[in-house]
């Protein structure tokens, strides 16, 4: 086998043909017989773009089979193949970009319903998938699905803050889609506070530290124009804490001062 040169264009042609035929059994058969050795770079390059090809030529049923077998959150693989739903091709397009561009509304909706989808990926022309749409109905459907997602995730974020659920907060922010769509420095429309202001007022040192490590801005003012540090009572950090409340205030002041110093330095160097 090692002496056989694998032709990338030929593999791609065979893959496109199998996808177009619409039989997952045939596709599986092709991959098992001809996409070998699996670790060959040519094989891998064609294989990684399978979903990009599929959204252009394959019927919905095959696309569903591909997603269910090869895009798994658990990392489990079928035939030792694992695909990334947000894989970018040489133009930076994800399968969602291509499906949107090709006006395949049913496929766009299906892709957007997957847990690991990221509709915020920019291609090399700095366009999100929604900006590739030629069909207004599909673009509107994408907007509605994003708004629904933001509504659900923002509420989940709020609940995790209310419960001081650090594990959940971490997992929400670790998603690139959420990092793009959520703003940790946003202002509560009723209280006028950011979460940093809120937890400074609650004297929650651990949460304030977590917030500052996760993008909370110590220079963001509340609706009354106050910085988070201005909500801490005037304490002298060289004083010996005579009671727990003063000790907490000293700790909070140090934390916020350090954050403002560090952020100033970063701003200057950038």
């Amino acid at each position: 086998l090692s002496s056989v040169v694998i032709s990338k264009p030929l593999l791609k042609l065979k893959l496109l043909d199998a996808l177009r035929q619409g039989s997952f059994a045939n596709l599986k058969d092709l991959l098992q017989k001809q996409f070998q050795p699996l670790d060959d770079p040519n094989v891998q390059q064609v294989l990684h773009l399978m979903l990009h090809y599929a959204v252009q030529v394959a019927p919905m049923a095959v696309i569903k089979d591909i997603v269910h077998h090869w895009i798994t959150a658990t990392g489990a693989t079928f035939l030792n193949i694992h695909l990334d739903l947000n894989e970018q091709d040489s133009n930076g397009n994800t399968p969602l970009h291509i499906a949107a561009y090709q006006s395949r509304g049913d496929i766009v909706a299906f892709l957007l319903d997957q847990a690991t989808i990221n509709d915020c990926v920019l291609n090399h022309s700095h366009l999100q998938a929604i900006e590739m749409c030629k069909n207004l109905n599909i673009a509107q459907m994408m907007q509605v699905k994003r708004s629904t997602y933001v509504a659900e995730t923002a509420q989940e974020f709020r609940t995790a803050f209310n419960n001081r659920d650090f594990g959940h907060l971490e997992s929400i922010l670790s998603s690139p889609r959420n990092a793009e769509l959520l703003d940790i420095n946003g202002m509560d429309p009723e209280t006028g506070d950011t979460v940093l202001h809120e937890f400074v007022k609650k004297r929650d040192v651990i949460m304030c530290r977590w917030l500052l490590e996760h993008g909370a801005d110590p220079f963001k003012r509340d609706r009354k124009g106050k910085l988070p540090i201005e909500l801490v009572r005037k304490v002298n950090e060289n004083d010996t804490a005579t009671n727990t409340k003063i000790a907490i205030d000293i700790e909070l002041k140090k934390l916020l001062e350090r954050a403002t110093r560090e952020q100033s330095v970063i701003d200057v160097t950038n």
């Binding site: 708004s147 940790i184 429309p189």
Partner: protein, 31 residues
């Protein structure tokens, strides 16, 4: 008088970024 929001609206207004607001698409943008 201050407007009152339900929990969901309040969370979206606080944490949803402006860029996640619907992009206004026109037929001109579409073509």
């Amino acid at each position: 008088r201050q407007k009152h929001y339900n929990d969901g609206e309040r969370a979206v207004l606080q944490f949803g970024k402006n860029r996640s607001e619907p992009i206004i698409l026109s037929y001109k943008d579409m073509n």
